[in-house]
C-alpha cells in the first residue's frame, strides 16, 4: 500500500493537479448536496402520528370509517350476500362460478375463502380507526365532540353486531350465551406485541358492548336532525335506534325492540313515509323517504361492478351484472298473484334498471332468461341498509311476541306493508304470517339468515353440498362463517368454530 501512495503522491506532484482538484471538488459538491437528499415525503399519505393530533384529522378518520364499511366487504356486498346465500333454502338459485359463494349456498364454507377473510379484516380495520377516534376526542372542537364520539361508537357497535352475527353461533333468548363470539378490541393498536393476540369474547360480552356503544351513540347524537335523510347517510340518533331495534330483536328483548322501532317509525311520520310503490325504494341516487340508513354511492365511490358488489351478482342487464343469483319458482308461491312484489317485467328491450317498473324482471344480460330481482340493478345507486318497512315489520313482530301494541297494533303494521303492495289485508295474524311477510318484503336484502335464526327455522343443504339433502337447524354450526384461517395462523389464542374443526 505504501508503494501505491508514494507513486500517487509523486505523480501528483509532477503533473497538473488541477483536474484532481476539479474531481475532488465535484465529488465534494455531490456529497454536500446529499444532506437531506434521502428525506422525501409520500404524496398520497400522511404519517399516522399527524392524523389524530388535530380536529380535522380525527374528523377525517371518522369519515374514513364510513368509507371502509361502505365497501363490498361489508354493507355494499357481503352483508346482504352472505346472509341470503347461507340462509337460502332454494328461494333463490346461485349459478355463478365463484366457488366461495357456491360454498355458502351449499353451507360448506372454507376458512380460506377470500370474501370471508376480507370481511373480517375490513371490519377490524374500521374498528381500530373508531378506537383511535374515541381515544383522541380531546382534540376535537368542543361543539363537535359529542357527535364525533357518537358516530364513532355507532360505527363500532354496528360492526361488532355484523361480526358476531356471522362469525359466531346465534344469540339465544334467555340463555347465558357463553358461546364464543368475536374478539373485542376497544383500544387503538400502537405497535404489534403479544397483547395483540386476543381471544374471542363470549357472544354475551359482545352484545353487551354493542348495546353500550349504540345506546351511547343514540344519546350523543341526540342533537342531530332525526328525519329521513338527516345527516347525509351518516349516523343519527334515529339510525342508532334502528340498529338497536335490530339488536334487541335478535336478543329476544321484544319490548325494547318495539320501543326502538316505534321511535324510528314515529320520527319518520309513520306509514305515510312508505313509498306508494315498493320499487321506489331501490336503485335511487338520492335519499328516499323510506331510507333509515343507507350506504351512499356515486360514480366515484361504489362497490364496483366487475367481481364485487351485490349488483354484479343480482343483475342481468345489458352490459351489467353476471346474473348469478336468480329467483326460483318457490319464491313466487309465497305471494298472491296481484302482489306488486311478485310482478315480473318480461321485456327483451330493457336497457337499464330504470326500464323495469316491477320488483322482478326476466334477465336480458348475462345468463339471460331467468327471473331476477330488481332491487339491485344499478351499481352506483345508494344501498338501503335499513328501510322504514323493516322497522314497521320489526315493531309488529316485537309487539306480537311481547303481547303489546306499542305505537300500533301488529296487524295494522303488517297490513300497512301488505296493502302498499296490493296484497289483501289480513284479518288475523300469526307469528308465521309475520315471518312470511318479512321475507316477502325484505327478500334479497340480507335478512334471510338472521330471520331464520330468530324464527327457529331450518334450511336444506342443496345438491353438491357435502351434506346435500340434510336439514340444518337454525343454530347449526355449519351456518356460521368460519374464523378466517389466516387469522388462526397468526393468533394462537383464537379458536375456530366447531363445525370447521376436523
Amino acid at each position: 500500500m505504501n508503494a501505491f501512495i508514494n507513486i500517487l503522491i509523486k505523480e501528483l506532484m509532477k503533473s497538473s493537479c488541477i483536474y484532481m482538484f476539479l474531481g475532488l471538488i465535484g465529488l465534494g459538491l455531490v456529497s454536500y448536496s446529499c444532506e437531506g437528499f434521502l428525506d422525501i415525503e409520500p404524496q398520497q399519505s400522511v404519517s399516522n402520528e399527524t392524523v389524530y393530533d388535530s380536529h380535522s384529522g380525527v374528523v377525517n378518520a371518522l369519515y374514513g370509517i364510513y368509507e371502509r364499511i361502505a365497501g363490498p366487504q361489508l354493507y355494499a356486498g357481503t352483508s346482504v350476500f352472505h346472509s341470503d346465500l347461507v340462509g337460502n333454502s332454494g328461494e333463490l338459485s346461485w349459478i355463478g362460478t365463484f366457488l366461495g359463494y357456491r360454498q355458502m349456498n351449499w353451507k360448506s364454507m372454507d376458512p380460506n375463502d377470500a370474501t370471508i377473510t376480507n370481511k373480517w379484516l375490513r371490519s377490524y380495520q374500521a374498528i381500530d380507526m373508531a378506537n383511535n377516534v374515541i381515544e383522541n376526542l380531546e382534540v376535537v372542537n368542543e361543539g363537535d365532540r359529542a357527535r364525533v364520539e357518537g358516530e364513532a361508537k355507532f360505527l363500532r357497535g354496528i360492526i361488532y353486531f355484523e361480526l358476531v352475527r356471522f362469525y359466531a353461533l346465534p344469540y339465544e333468548f334467555n340463555q347465558s350465551n357463553t358461546q364464543l363470539g368475536v374478539p373485542l378490541v376497544l383500544t387503538p393498536t400502537k405497535s404489534i406485541t403479544n397483547e395483540n393476540l386476543v381471544s374471542r369474547a363470549t357472544v354475551d360480552a359482545v352484545y353487551v358492548q354493542i348495546l353500550e356503544d349504540l345506546n351511547d351513540a343514540k344519546t350523543l347524537l341526540g342533537g342531530i336532525g332525526t328525519t329521513s335523510g338527516a345527516n347525509g347517510g351518516r349516523a343519527t340518533s334515529t339510525v342508532a335506534a334502528a340498529f338497536l331495534a335490530r339488536v334487541y330483536l335478535s336478543m329476544g328483548n321484544w319490548e325494547a325492540a318495539a320501543n326502538e322501532s316505534n321511535l324510528v317509525v314515529s320520527r319518520f311520520g309513520g306509514y305515510a313515509a312508505l313509498h306508494g310503490d315498493p320499487r321506489s325504494a331501490f336503485n335511487s341516487d338520492s335519499y328516499t323517504s323510506e331510507d333509515v340508513f343507507m350506504i351512499n354511492q356515486n360514480a366515484q365511490s361504489n362497490a364496483g361492478q366487475s367481481n364485487d358488489g351485490i349488483t354484479t351478482f343480482f343483475a342481468s342487464l345489458p352490459g351489467l351484472g353476471r346474473g348469478d343469483v336468480y329467483v326460483s319458482s318457490s319464491f313466487f308461491d309465497l305471494f298472491e298473484s296481484q302482489d306488486l312484489r311478485v310482478q315480473i317485467t318480461d321485456n327483451p328491450e330493457i336497457g337499464s334498471i330504470s326500464d323495469v317498473p316491477s320488483m322482478l324482471y326476466v334477465g336480458v344480460g348475462t345468463d339471460a332468461g331467468n327471473v331476477m330481482s330488481s332491487k339491485w340493478g344499478k351499481y352506483d345507486a345508494n344501498i338501503p341498509v335499513i328501510r322504514l318497512a323493516e322497522m314497521i315489520l320489526t315493531r309488529a313482530e316485537a309487539n306480537f311476541r311481547n303481547g303489546s301494541s306499542i305505537g300500533a297494533e301488529p296487524l295494522a303494521d303488517i297490513n300497512a306493508i301488505r296493502t302498499r303492495s296490493n296484497a289483501t289485508a289480513l284479518a288475523t295474524l300469526t307469528l308465521n304470517d309475520i315471518r312470511d311477510e318479512r321475507y316477502r318484503e325484505l327478500a334479497f336484502e340480507g335478512h334471510k339468515l338472521h330471520d331464520l335464526r330468530r324464527f327457529r327455522g331450518s334450511v336444506v343443504a342443496p345438491s353438491g353440498s357435502d351434506w346435500a339433502g340434510q336439514v340444518l337447524e337454525w343454530n347449526d354450526g355449519r351456518l356460521v362463517l368460519p374464523i378466517p384461517q389466516r387469522e388462526l395462523d397468526v393468533n394462537e389464542n383464537l379458536v375456530q368454530n366447531d363445525a370447521y374443526i376436523n
Binding site: 428525506d39 400522511v46 371502509r68 360514480a299 352490459g319
Partner: protein
Amino acid sequence: MKKVLLALSFVLVCGLTALMAQTRTITGTVTGSDDGMPIPGASVFVKGTTIGTVTQVNGSYSINVPADAQTLVYSFVGMRSQEQPIAGRSVIDVILASDAIAVSEVVVIGYGTRLKAELTGSIASVRASDIADNTAPTFESALQGRAAGVHVVGGSGKLGQAVRTRIRGASSISASNQPLYVIDGMPVQSQNLGANNNEPTNPIADLNPNDIESIQVLKDASAAAIYGSRASNGVILVTTKRGKPGRTTFNFSSQIGISEPANKVNFLNRAQYLDLFELAYSNVAGGSNEPYIIWDDWTDALDWGLNYWRDPLNPSDLSQGPDTNWEDEALRRGSMQQFDFSASGGNEKTQFYAGLSTVDQTSIVNGNSFDRISGRLNLDQKATDNVSFGMNMNLVRSRNFRVANDNAFSTPLQMVALPPLNPKYNPNTGELNSNTLYENGLIVRKHNMSNTEIFRNFGNLYAQINILPSLSFRTEAGVDLLNQREIEYRSRLTNDGGPEGEAYDRSVNSKIYNLESFFTYNQKLSPVLDLNVVLGNSLQQADFDFAAISAKGFPNDNFKRIASASEITNATSSGTGYRYNSYFSRANLKVMERFLIDASGRFDGSSRFGKDNRYGFFPSAALAWIASNEDFLLNNDFLSFLKPRISWGVTGNSEIDNFAARGLYMGSNYAGLSGMVSSSIPSPDLKWETTTQTNVGVDFGFFNNRITGEIDYYFKKTTDLLLNVQIPGTTGFSTVYRNVGEMENKGWEFVLNTVNIEGPFSWSSNFNITFNKNKITNLDGQVISSGIWRVMEGQPIGVFYTKEFAGVDPTNGDALFYLNETGDETTTSLSAAANRIVGDPNPDFWGGFTNSFRYAGFDLNVMFQFVYGHDIFNQGRQWQADGFSWFDNQVVEFYENIWRQPGDNAKYPQPRFYEGNGYGTSSMLIFDGSYIRLKEVSLGYTIPKRIVQRGGLENVRVFARAYNLLTITDYPGWDPEASSPGTADATTQSSNIRQGWDFYTAPQPRTLTFGLNMTF
C-alpha cells in the same frame, strides 16, 4: 505468453514474406464463426516456416507457398488458431472459432472493464450475435438457455409483458426478486408501470435488442457487490454498440415472419360435448333438488342453459347445429416484421454509432400486437489527450395493443370456456352472438381497445478526465425518462363496459436521474504488482407521477375518447419516488500475473428505510489463481487454461414499497365525503435485507482451449428478510414489513464449450446447466400464503399447499382426496380433506445446449433449452376438466380419461353435471411442467464476397429462423413455460410466491422468420 508468440509470428510473417522463394498461390477468406463476418488482419502462414501474409479488409488473403508446404496456420487475436492441410487445394476458406478464454477479451463490470481471463467473480456473458434478430420484443429471452444461473420464464405469450428473471434462485419473499438492469452504466426502470387492472408490462421491451453489443450478468457477490444494496438478485449490465475508428460501416437488416401457437390444448367438439354432457347429466339425473326439478332430461337442461345450440332448421336433429372451435378464435396466426439500419465509424477523435429500428409484431393472441420505433446515437469525443466526453441518446416509441388480463372473462383465451354449441354469430341477426354462456370474447375483440403507448428516452452524458496517466476521473449523468399513456375503451356491448360504454385514460411519467462520479487508479506498482482502484459516489433519484381518468356514457361505440362521455366516474393523480445515495470503492490487485486479489465495499443509503437504518455496508472479497500461468503449466497443450477462484460478499435488497417503514393514512372518499383511512402501521426498525454469497469456481481450457468451461458452486444466504409479515387482523392491519427470517439458495453451474470440428466445416457446441435448491430456513413461525401457494420453513418458496387428489374410486368413479395431513385415509369430500404440500413450482435444474455448424457460407444454429422439475398449477382446468359442474367446455384429454364403469382405473372421476365430482382446487390441477424445447433453429447463407462486392456491398447474409419448433413435455396445458404474472396490483410478495400459475395463460408462439443482413 500466447499473445507474445502471436505478435512475434505476426512481425516475422510481415517481415520475411518477401524474401522467400515462391512456387504456388493459395487464396481464400477468413471469417468468424459467431457472426460470419470477414476478419481483416488475420495472419496466415505456412506451418514450420516464416512464410505468411495477413487478410485484407474483406477477410480475403492470397499467399504464395513453397511446393513442399503441407499445412497453413490461421490465427487472430481472440480466436482459436487453426491449421489446415493444403492437400492440393488452391482455395481455402477458413472459419475461426472464438476463443472462450481469449486472453484479450474485455468484459464490462460495474464501473469499469476487465480482461475476461482476470475475472475473479462469476459473470455470464451474452454476445450481440446471440441477441441480434431476436423475435421476442425484449432481450431477456435471449438469455434463456444461454446464460448459466439465469432462469428466464416468459410466462405468457402476450407481447411486451413482464418476464420473470431469476439469477441463482429467488432470494427474497416480499421484496423484488428481479435483477437490477444497468444500461450503459445507468440503472433503469425495469418494473411494471402499467395500470392495475391488467398484467404487468416490461419496460425493458423499450430497448432495441439490435443496439446491444453485449450483456453481462453479474451473479456472485464479488461481481455484484459494487451495486451494493440493489444487487442481491444479480445485475444485468447491458452495453450498447459504439463506433470504432475507421471507415463508416452501414448495416441493414430486416426480418419478416409468421407465428402460430406453439401448442393447442384441444377442447371438445359438438359431438363429444353432447356425448359427455348426456353422460354427466345421466350420472346425477333424478336429483329432487333445484335445479334438476325444472328439467325433463339432459337436452332440456341444455335448452335451459344455452341459446341457439340446436340447428334452426332441424331442431330435433342434434347431430346438426353449431360446432364452434373457440380455441381457434382465441389463438390465431401472428406475424412480425423488423427493420434495422445502422451506421458506425469515426476517426481517432470522434466515433459514433447511429441506429434506427422498427419492429411490428402481431401476437398469436387475438387482439394483441406490439410495435416499436427506436433511434439511437452513441457518440464519443476525445477533446484533448486528457479529456474525453460522450453521450448516448436513445429515443423510443413503443406501443402495445393489449387484451385483458388472464383472469378476466374478456381475455381472449377464456373463450375456450364457451361450449362448441354456442354459435359465433346470432342465427337470427347475423351479428356476433351476445348470448353465449359467458361473454363472447369476439365482441370484446371487435369493439374494445386497450392501447399502451410509451415514449422513452434513455440518455447519458459522460466526461472523463485523465488526471495522471494512471488516474482518471469520470462523471456520468444519466436520465431515463418514460412517458406512458394508456387508453382504454370498453364497449357498451361488453360486460366490462356496459351498458353505456366506458373509457379509461392513464398517464405515467417516470423520471430516473442518475449521477455517478468516480476515480479510477490503474498502476503497475512493480513488475509483479498491478493495482486498479475505483472510488466514487452514486446518486439516484426516481420520481413517478400518475394520472388517470375514467368515464362512462358514450353516445355509441364510435366515440371512444373521454371528451364524448357523459359522466366522469373517476379522476385521480398521484406521485411517489425513492432516492439512493451511495459511496463505493473497489481494489483489484494482480500479483505476478497469476494471483488476483479483489475487494470492494459500498456504503448505501435508501429513502425507503427509517432514519436510523438508512445506510448499509456491503463488502466483498475474492481471490483467483491463474494456475496455467505458473511455469509448470505454461505452454501445456493439454491443460491450456486453469483458474480456480473463490469469492465472498454481501449484497442487499431494498426493493419494497417506497414508504414501507412508515405508519401511514391515505385519503378516502365516501360518496363525496373525503376522509382518511389507515394504510400501514409503522415499522421504524426496518432495514436492508442482506444476502451473503460464497462462490467457488474454476475456469478451465483443454487442448489449446478447444474445450473450455466453468464450474461454479454457490451458496447464497439471505438474512433479515424484508418480510411482509402477517399480523392479526384484529389489530386493524393485516401485514407489516419486518426484517424476519432467512432463506438460502445453493447451486451448481456447469458450462462447457467445445470446438468439435474445425476447418472449412466447423462445428462447435455450448452446453450449460444449473442446479439450484431454494429453501426457507427460518420464518420465525410465520406462514405466508397466497392462494394455494405457501411459504413455509424447510420448503422452497411458494410450494403448492392444497388438498391432495388420491385418484378415482374404481367402484363408483368418485374423486377421492386424502383426509389427513399424513396417511392414506381418503374422503370424497373436498372440504373435509386436509391440505398437504403437493408440488413445487421451482425447477430442479435448467439449461441449454447449442450447436453451431458452418460450411462454405452456410451457418446452422440449433439450440435446445430445458427446464426440469417445476410443477404448474393449471387453475383453468378447474373448469376445463370438471365433468360439467357447469356448461364450460372440457378438454379432450379429460373426456378420454374419465371413469365410465365399475372397475375402471380411470385418471379422472365420473363426470357429474352441476354437482361436480371433485370440483374445486386440489392437486388434480397440478402437473409436472418439465420440458425440453427446440428453442431456435437458424440457417443462414452468406453470399460469396465476389458476388456481393460487385454490387458494392461488403457482406450479405440471408437467413431463416424457427423458434419453439418443438416442445417435449407431459404438461397437458398450452405451455409448460406458463406463469401468469397476475395483475399489476398484486404485491411483489404475491408475484414472488405465485410461480407456475397457468390460468388461461397464452402459450409462447412458434415463429418462423426470413431475414437479410447487409453490410456496406
